[in-house]
């Protein structure tokens, strides 16, 4: 062994996981790869910095405590959401046990390093998100120059709390649930965490309204349940406030206590379960679930019945549909990445309804505006799903598509696209519309969902126009290439927003049905054009 100074394993692991988090493998040349990744990260930080301007509107006439709490609310929802969607794949890489567990490192060290990297990543996002708020905070009531260091400190604590909470939830499930259930549970947990973070971070302060913070002084102890309030109180205590500081001590102390306790529980108390969890995951990798019943019988039956049998007449399309549907329902990786990403799209418009109703608008306006907003989010569902489903850790199996005597790749694309529409997009639309109808006590959302029924199939074609698309055919890391992904999502959201906004407006001025006819014609034309473009895109051979 060398006598030269070697960094301790903890540092080596931190460097490793940091590198893994930021690096994909789109290009085989690392130089090109690094550039792509930096642009992707740059765009993400820029988007976060832009979103961070929204809460600065609250800075005018607000107390520093209230403003800091709102800022933390935004940070908690946006940064923690990204954290939650990255945590599952980082914490539980299927083959990691065979790479690291026989090396001289403990599972505790691995877990600590991963938690540090996750918290660091979240902090980077939080910094971008809070950039404008840090300056705006200086102009809030009671704030002094100390607001900036105070907010930086509390932000770091909030991110540590978020990372530790996520790790804690996973470790608790590892400890208390068996390996057979853990895999499925992981995906559900990640989706649930994403929803919870939105609820407690952004939606709840919105529901409460800024005036509600004054209840804290009047004994509104229920406010103590909100993590952003804990860290906002810490800001106010250090950075100055017009609030009575004695009322801020309990939430601030709670924040410090919760961060310490969560970190201890996640990393030390339940950390021992981590190594076992990794090993279990590795052991179960090939077997999935031991079931004696034949799988996929209902799916077989379903595709043979109308309307799917009419829609899937091409046998290649039908089998691509079944492959994609099976992965949507069974594959751990798809579940871990896709559903947590889609969950907020379903939940956000619903909670906007909840908060929008308090704004004094008429029920009619609120419904139509909300439906336009929901449409923007739904437009991203097929796009995001197709992006995720183009990649898989089983990408090498796509060699079968290349060796099979298929004249073109489009039947595979259309089969997968139809699976995304039938198994994911339309069920989400139906669920969201049903919830909105129930909440609004009106059938209007049902009618207003018709524009989405027309544009969602057209939007699902976009990924195939850009380049050749085969199901599960690229390495998983390519999905992390956020540069093109962000642009595509932004474009889709804008297009969906325009359609949704127009539909709402046309509804408002009484031209909804003529608009629907025009939209149908436009979408049909766009679909025809896109399918034509796809047919001209030739097969591209595998790169390896």
């Amino acid at each position: 062994m060398s006598t030269a100074v070697v960094p301790p394993p903890d540092k080596v692991l931190c460097a490793l996981f940091w590198k893994l988090l930021f690096r994909g493998r789109v290009a085989q040349q690392m130089g090109a790869q690094k550039t792509g990744r930096q642009i992707g990260l740059g765009i993400t930080l820029l988007i976060y910095a832009l979103i961070g301007n929204i809460p600065t509107a609250f800075a005018v006439n607000a107390d520093s405590f209230v403003f800091a709490s709102v800022l933390h609310g935004f940070t908690f929802s946006f940064a923690s959401l990204t954290l939650a969607s990255n945590a599952g794949t980082m914490l539980f890489m299927k083959e990691e046990a065979e790479i690291l567990l026989h090396r001289p490192v403990t599972p505790h060290q691995m877990l600590r390093a991963k938690c540090a990297v996750l918290a660091g990543f979240a902090l980077l996002l939080a910094l971008a998100l809070n950039l404008a708020g840090l300056i705006a905070g200086l102009f809030t009531k009671g704030a002094t120059w100390r607001f900036i260091p105070a907010h930086l400190l509390s932000m770091a604590l909030l991110m540590l709390f978020s990372a530790a909470s996520i790790v804690l939830v996973y470790n608790a499930c590892l400890k208390w649930f068996g390996r057979e259930r853990f895999d499925n549970l992981l995906a559900s947990l990640q989706s649930l965490l994403a929803i919870l973070m939105i609820l407690s971070g952004q939606i709840m302060p919105r529901m409460l309204g800024l005036d509600t913070f004054k209840h804290l002084e009047n004994g509104g102890v229920w406010l103590l349940a909100l993590p952003p309030v804990w860290f906002g109180a810490l800001d106010a205590l250090i950075g100055g406030t017009s609030f009575n500081s004695s009322t801020l001590w309990p939430p601030a102390a709670l924040g410090l206590l919760a961060t310490g306790l969560t970190s201890w529980l996640a990393l030390e108390k339940l950390g021992s379960a981590y190594g076992q969890g990794l090993m279990n995951l590795n052991e179960s990798s090939g077997t999935v679930k031991d079931s004696k019943k034949p799988r996929g019988r209902w799916l077989d039956a379903l595709v043979k019945l109308p309307p799917l049998s009419w829609w899937l007449r091409d046998p290649v399309e039908r089998h691509a549909f079944k492959l994609t549907a099976a992965y949507l329902m069974r594959d751990r990786e798809v579940k871990l990445r896709l559903y947590p990403g889609i969950a907020p799209m379903l939940i956000m418009p619903i909670f906007m309804t909840f908060t929008g109703g308090r704004g004094g608008k008429s029920a009619f306006d609120a419904t139509t505006m909300l439906q336009g907003f929901a449409t923007c989010f739904l437009g991203m569902v097929p796009m995001q799903a197709m992006m995720f489903l183009g990649c898989s850790e089983h990408w090498r199996a796509s060699a079968f598509f290349h060796t099979a005597p298929l004249p073109h790749w489009t039947p595979l694309f259309h089969g997968s696209r139809k699976a995304v529409l039938a198994c994911l997009t339309f069920p989400v639309l139906i669920l969201q519309t049903a919830i909105l109808c129930g909440m609004q006590r009106s059938p209007a959302p049902l009618t207003l969902s018709l524009p989405a029924v027309l544009f969602l199939p057209a939007f699902s074609l976009v990924t195939g126009v850009i380049q050749q698309w085969l199901p599960l055919s690229k390495p998983s890391e390519e999905v992390k290439n956020t540069a093109s992904g962000c642009l595509m999502m932004a474009g889709t959201m804008a297009a969906a927003g325009i359609v949704g906004g127009l539909a709402s407006w046309m509804w408002h001025i009484g031209y909804f049905w003529p608009f629907l006819v025009i939209e149908a014609v436009v979408m049909f034309g766009a679909s025809f054009l896109m399918k034509h473009l796809m047919r001209d895109t030739p097969w591209v051979a595998m790169k390896e």
Partner: protein, 256 residues
Amino acid sequence: MISIQGLTKHFGTQTAVDHLTLEVPPGMIVGLLGPNGAGKTTTLKMITGMLQPDAGTALICGVNVVTQPLEAKRLMGFVPDSGAVYESLTGLEFLLMIGALYGIHEDVARPRIRQFLDFFELDEQTLTSKLLGAYSKGMRRKVVITAALLHTPKVVLLDEPLDGLDANAAVGFKALLETLAREGKTIVYSSHVLDVVERVCDRVAIMAQGKLVVEGTPADLQHEHGADTLEQLFTRLTGLSGLEARAESFAKNLLS
């Protein structure tokens, strides 16, 4: 060098390894054989400290794997059958990272890696510029073997190490194993390829249904059980007889 006493592992109601006892002295290459599901990989995972045994002990150079895992892990190198690597790292990044985990400074690791590079005839540019995800199966296997031997371990555990290697690399690797054994390293070689095991290993241990069925030199075992080849001995002891007749019948049905 490796001392296993009553090693046992259950997965639910299934017993994967059942009171396995085995001694592997220094300078010996022992072939671990068995049909699928015999418990070979589970045994290796318990010896490497990846899996916690339900009962029994495993000592590596006298160090208990369960009570002193880090010390034991420093003494051994393991090539898992999956050939798993971090695919987003280059080969060089991966090997330097592994070296650092064993306390090897980069200045020491680099020339060692270069030695392996020369031995396996790996292109240096590939190692530094390509991500592991873009490597061929054989190249990846070479990196995994390098990662297992980089810290010059006293005990080497190999699970299907030749999987993916081309014929030349396989010949070279077998010669390397023999040299390592002569230098006093202890090697456990788990494989399904019986003729390779027969050629490389000093002794073989055959497992079936989690239990050790026989252990000894191939010649002694063949003589003892009246088998002409190791393959014959293996099929006889693991209860898989009449395979050739079954295959012939199957092929005839398929072609008719």
